[in-house]
């Protein structure tokens, strides 16, 4: 286990945290705490995220040249992702959007001199041609999961685009798979919801609608 990973939500966001997050090394409580750190240090997080991926790109690309996403473009993209979430689960929509955006990244060219880059030799998290899309998709799902987690933690919606307020993620949050992408849910609440569906359906509409609706929708993440 990386000892640089945060133990409490108030630990500062570090590059180690971000790189572990970007490489998908975090899970469960560590993941939740890392997201919380990202939310707090919004700007720093974005800058670090960009440079992390830039470093990775340089190390993986041929020496002849490198394209990097225009920071302004990514900022606008970020804003679009964080714009009003009327529904708790938005991962599906975001993933589809990011495919369109990745095509836009190509024409934005800016050469980087590899000599200027310094940084540890990160193991190749991905070495296929779709890495760029994965970057965008990864960013999209990060933003989506962050927003979802925030909505679920019971606070009011974001005050303005791109500016996520302080949100303490409660303990006992689990990351569950759902058709909308990864979603943070309270494990106990999931059990109670299942119990309500199982026993609580005393309704004239239960057969067939209530039962079918619960059976179709029940996605409690239990595998």
């Amino acid at each position: 286990m990386n000892s640089n990973l945060p133990n409490t939500p108030s630990d500062p966001l570090t590059r180690e945290i971000l790189s572990a997050l970007a490489d998908g090394e975090l899970a469960g409580a560590e993941f939740a705490v890392a997201l919380e750190a990202c939310q707090r240090d919004g700007d720093a997080a974005f800058a670090s995220w960009s440079s992390y991926h830039l470093i990775g790109d340089v190390l993986r690309s041929p020496a002849s040249g490198l394209r990097v996403a225009d920071a302004q473009f990514l900022a606008r993209f970020n804003q679009r992702l964080n714009s009003p979430l009327s529904q708790p689960f938005g991962g599906q929509a975001y993933a589809q959007d990011s495919k369109a955006y990745s095509a836009d990244l190509e024409p934005v060219a800016q050469k980087i001199q590899p000599a200027m880059v310094s940084g540890p030799d990160r193991r190749a998290a991905s070495n296929d041609g779709s890495f760029r899309w994965k970057l965008v998709a990864g960013f999209a799902s990060l933003a989506a999961v962050t927003s979802v987690a925030w909505n679920i933690s019971g606070l009011s919606s974001p005050a303005s685009t791109g500016q996520l307020a302080q949100a303490q993620l409660p303990l006992q949050q689990v990351l569950v798979a759902s058709p909308q992408g990864p979603v943070l849910r309270d494990a106990r609440l999931e059990e109670l919801l299942a119990a309500h569906r199982q026993l609580g359906g005393r309704s004239a509409l239960q057969e067939p609608s209530g039962f079918l609706r619960n059976a179709t929708f029940e996605n409690d993440g239990r595998r």
Partner: protein, 327 residues
């Protein structure tokens, strides 16, 4: 019962008040009975889609009835693959990804006629049946009605039923502003499909290679026996049952398991869960909305309450604030 007569009722001459109410109760209950009978008796295969907010989940459904036996098979098409079989009140869920199978008995299924009897005219006291004309859904001609709540403590429903026999093909749950919270509908439907009960029963029993997940045997109790009372009853909602979970469901002791107290107004149900306060886990009061289902959690003295139901949040709050330890 001729559905057209029930539809024509509101336009007829107005009888005296008590008679009018009795007729109203009869018509709503009759409509519900007819809908129920059709849903049980008609064999069909269809694709069922549940939507709320930006989410969509769908499943393929098979349904058949033989005598007093009912069988359903649900294959989820979205998210985790699941095969759910229902035979009367027994439900078996196969989870192929984890090779786990769950078997449970669901009291709420198959209790409908009794439910109507126990609620008497209660559904008619709190909901009004309003016809809304005709339409076409999933290729079949349908009648549309709204079950409109008479107060703001419950949701409304818009129901599309197939004209010949009354099978529900589409159902919307409406919030207090009439906005659609959630919709469940067949996107395609094959009526009187050749579904074989024996084949489905055979599939339901094929648990080889699956690990049976033991369902905890729930202990039926009463809230009163457990020391709880709802000091201010919520209009229309009657307590239906109360369950205790035994020890060991997830490694914890019996007294840590939540007590579940279930209420219903005939169309909607609410579960109050009470468990001892655990400061580690219960650190924030919250509320959540998922389509028609609303939930809220909060502290009550040395306990933690979670209230779940297909009712407005304000109604959940009424339940939460009305719950009290017996003196």
């Amino acid at each position: 019962m001729n559905f057209v007569a029930a539809e024509a009722l509101p336009a007829a001459a107005i009888p005296t008040a008590p008679a009018a109410l009795a007729l109203e109760a009869t018509s709503i209950n009759e409509w519900l009975m007819r809908m129920q009978e059709a849903s049980r008796k008609r064999a069909y295969i269809g694709t069922y889609v549940v939507t709320f907010g930006g989410n969509m989940s769908s499943a393929k459904i098979w349904h058949v009835c033989e005598g007093d036996q009912q069988m359903e098979r649900v294959e989820t098409l979205t998210g985790a693959p699941r095969s759910i079989f229902r035979h009367n009140d027994r439900v078996v869920t196969f989870m192929p990804e984890s090779k786990v199978v769950r078997s449970e008995k669901r009291e709420s299924l198959g209790m409908f006629p009794d439910l109507l009897q126990s609620t008497d005219g209660r559904i008619a006291d709190y909901y009004k049946l309003k016809p809304e004309g005709v339409d076409r859904v999933a290729g079949v001609a349908v009648n549309v009605v709204v079950l409109a709540p008479k107060d703001s403590m419950r949701f409304g429903y818009r129901v599309w039923t197939e004209q010949k026999q009354g099978l529900v093909v589409k159902l919307q749950t409406l919030d207090t502003d009439g906005k659609v919270l959630e919709q469940a509908a067949f996107s395609e439907l094959q009526l009187d499909a050749p579904v074989r009960m024996d084949k489905l029963l055979h599939m339901m029993g094929k648990t080889d290679g699956y690990k049976l997940e033991q369902q905890p045997v729930l202990v039926k109790t009463t809230a009163s026996a457990e020391g709880w009372v709802l000091k201010a009853p919520v209009a229309g909602f009657k307590p239906m049952s109360c369950y205790k979970r035994p020890a060991g469901a997830s490694g914890s002791a019996a007294q840590d398991q939540p007590l579940q107290w279930i209420f219903s107004d005939g169309l909607a149900s609410v579960s109050i869960f009470v468990e001892p306060l655990d400061r580690q886990r219960h650190d924030r009061e919250s509320s959540m909305s998922m389509g028609a289902t609303q939930t809220m959690s909060r502290q009550l003295g040395a306990y933690w309450l979670t209230v779940v139901g297909e009712v407005p949040m304000a109604t959940l709050q009424l339940f939460a604030s009305g719950l009290e330890r017996k003196k």
